[in-house]
Subunit: 457 residues, 2 copies
């Protein structure tokens, strides 16, 4: 996978050396010799990953990393700190600043390239989603990027897969301070648990008794239901080949035994943030798409949704020879509610009305605002008798309890008229079905309102 790599180092020879190496690997290289220049390049979106030196005059690498990771527009960029500092405390400081990895010089080139490729690939998975989510933000749907940058990465549900008791207890102890941790010694049971859907990050030992832990990592990365779970491998330092292989398979990160508690905590936190970032992007796009088929006032589906789905339900009903019925509901004398108590009161009544209808319909029924004070309910697999019963129940619930208005300071009586129709063999499409329901509704109004009238079958 090709990518644009930003190298940040205040020493020109270092910069050139790394630039040459990366260029030979066909990466596109951009460079900066100080923190502010690096941040500007990140903010302009001119790179996919950052290789960052720590010791620079002015703003040091830790601060550059912290800024990248807390700025909404750049927080998604992977950062690898590359430095001569070799104390565990430096390493931890880098990871705490949000770095995805912290490599100590002399750098093992193969390891560096494998890491860069892996991080770039993982980023590419969410790039498309991020672009859509940013469009959603431009439409005014709130800002998932800002929320993601503010995410602390705590209180996650972790799955530790390790069959060495001492090791798993040590890891669970360290992680348990910040997260809810489950330990599983058996890889097959671990996989089942992960597919059940309550795992944010998996920590997997590669040295399971009689089982190649890398296979579990690979399965987690390839099953539909577990693909979204970041995986952290735990391996012996000598197991370099399998570690590289794991990165290539899409595993997100690794730790080498003996596991440093603080490093474990820091790396897992980074993965929790990654998971929540991707989740929030997905939710943001999904939510804005859902809004397109929702009525803003009542929270019911809108006409656009009804049109699309009634057509489908109608066709399916015809195909399978099963009934489908439609209820058309209209609040009685709604205009006079608006006139006497104001538009806000009218809105309150509509919201309540929708709420009560929803409470007396099923999940498979389509409930949609048809416009104004009219609501349509589509009841699949239900004949005229069944649909009339549903309608009568709703009519009773509307009449039975007055509607609170003016923020609950008073209440008014409301009634509803309902027209009901079932699909007939001669119906060419949903329009004639709706038309009959409308005619029945008209009769209900004519006959004195607050009643259910079924169209002749």
């Amino acid at each position: 996978m090709s990518a644009r790599v930003l190298i940040v180092d205040d020493l020109f020879p270092n910069l050139k050396l790394l630039e040459t190496k990366l260029s030979l690997e066909y990466f596109d290289v951009v460079s900066a010799m100080n923190g502010p220049d690096a941040l500007a390049i990140c903010e302009k979106g001119l790179c996919d990953i950052v290789l960052l030196d720590v010791m620079m005059p002015g703003m040091d690498g830790f601060e550059v990393c912290r800024r990248i990771k807390t700025t909404p527009t750049t927080a998604h960029l992977p950062v690898v700190m590359v430095t001569a500092l070799d104390q565990p405390s430096d390493r931890l400081r880098g990871l705490d600043a949000g770095a995805d990895d912290f490599l100590t010089k002399p750098i093992d080139d193969t390891a560096l390239f494998a890491r860069v490729r892996s991080l770039v690939r993982l980023k590419a998975m969410t790039d498309e989603l991020r672009t859509r989510a940013m469009a959603s933000r431009d439409f005014g749907f709130g800002d998932p990027l800002a929320a993601a940058a503010a995410e602390t990465g705590q209180n996650a549900r972790l799955l530790v897969v390790d069959d060495r008791r001492a090791s798993s207890e040590r890891m669970a102890g360290a992680l348990g301070q910040y997260h809810c941790v489950e330990v599983e010694a058996d890889p097959q049971r671990a996989l089942v648990r992960a597919t059940e859907g309550h795992v944010d990050v998996a920590v997997v030992s590669l040295d399971l008794d009689g089982f190649d832990g890398l296979r579990l990592c690979s399965q987690l990365r390839s099953l539909d239901r577990t693909r979204g779970i970041p995986v952290v491998m735990v391996a012996d330092a000598g197991d370099r080949d399998r570690i590289m292989r794991g990165l290539d398979l899409g595993v997100h990160d690794y730790l080498v035994r003996p596991v440093d508690r603080n490093e474990l905590v820091a790396r897992v936190r980074t993965q929790v943030r990654r998971k929540r970032f991707a989740d929030s992007l997905r939710e943001s796009v999904q939510a804005s798409m859902e809004l397109a088929v929702m009525d803003g006032l009542t929270g019911l589906h809108n006409r656009r949704y009804l049109d699309a789905h009634l057509a489908g339900l109608f066709a399916e009903s015809t195909l399978r020879g099963r009934p489908v019925s439609v209820l058309l509901l209209d609040i009685d004398r709604f205009k006079s509610i608006n006139d006497r108590f104001g538009h806000d009161a009218g809105d309150e009544v509509l919201r309540q009305f929708a709420e009560r209808i929803r409470a007396h319909t099923r999940g498979i029924d389509v409930v949609a605002r048809f416009g104004g004070e009219e609501i349509v309910v589509v009841v699949p697999d239900t004949g005229l008798d069944g649909a009339q019963q549903v309608a009568e129940r709703i009519r009773e619930r509307i009449e039975a309890m007055p509607f609170p208005i003016h923020g609950g300071t008073r209440a008014i009586d409301v009634t509803v008229s309902i027209g009901v129709a079932v699909r007939l063999p001669e119906d060419g499409g949903p329009a004639s079905l709706l038309k009959r329901a409308d005619t029945a509704l008209y009769r209900a109004k004519e006959e004195g309102r607050n009643r259910v009238v079924a169209a002749a079958a």
Copy 2:
């Protein structure tokens, strides 16, 4: 990258051999011994890629491939045909059936795995988008998958990068029958051309004079503006290492010299389809998100969009000390239009009304339906005088020409009243600005309609 690989072969030993090899590479393997079983597995979404034998009793591999590639729910699955058939005509038949590659036995394992990894990675890039697009389809926004499966992959804009005249002319000749082809000998100019945005697929020779063609491929794959362009490499058979490297960099496909014309045409067609598939997914998600902020009747933005954007424009105006004004427009005696000519006529008038307003506002102005027959126009960087001029121009254009109704068979006179207000230093938020515009609109109505009234500044 890990993935679920479906192996289809009617001979058990073949199946087992390939299964063992892939499993050692940490792929998850599913298998089928005939076409119908294979199709069922694909349709259930249980695999990410298909390795397909050609010679099977009953439904042969060509037919299985054709069905996978023309079924909307499975068309996105990469298919590699693996067979003992070694005639160019077999190869072409496979590619014509839509196969992403056609490998002849004995299989070079390294090449096979590199190809599988590359195809799986490319698929993963669009998986997230495909999931969103399918949700959009469930909401009733049409079916991008069906459109993509029906795509013929012709009439694309191709860029051939090759500095050997005989070679580029031969390729341009073959491709020119189906596409619009541009040839570019210089890699730098080719990159510029690609960034200019009118290229669907790039075909790049790796043997450019004094330049490593793989670097151009890598640049095309890493720049934001060219990432969406599939790249096909053309290389000498002996250049295996660079071909494998290219696949690893994200290049989509390759051909070996001497280039077979038909194979070139088939492989490029596959890439054109891939590009259009990704584009249509993207458009589908984008379009359904846009619908969430659009008013269905007038095509203007809706209240949701107005609320989000007016807040932003108001804040910016306060911050920069620049004016921002608001026009509130209401069609005069709209109810009587509905009563006299029917609701359809009312809708026609509203649409026309929106159209004329749009014609007299700028791209940076926000024009939104506020509800009923009211429309709001937000004019940034414009004071009260400027806003009044805009309003007066619109008022004149509404009055000047009658509005066609009943499908153009008659026309009626329509007028509009407009209230105008500019942000004042004491305004705490957009609500007070809108409130003043509303008061001004009320005065315009009181004073006889068909006029513009500005709120006192």
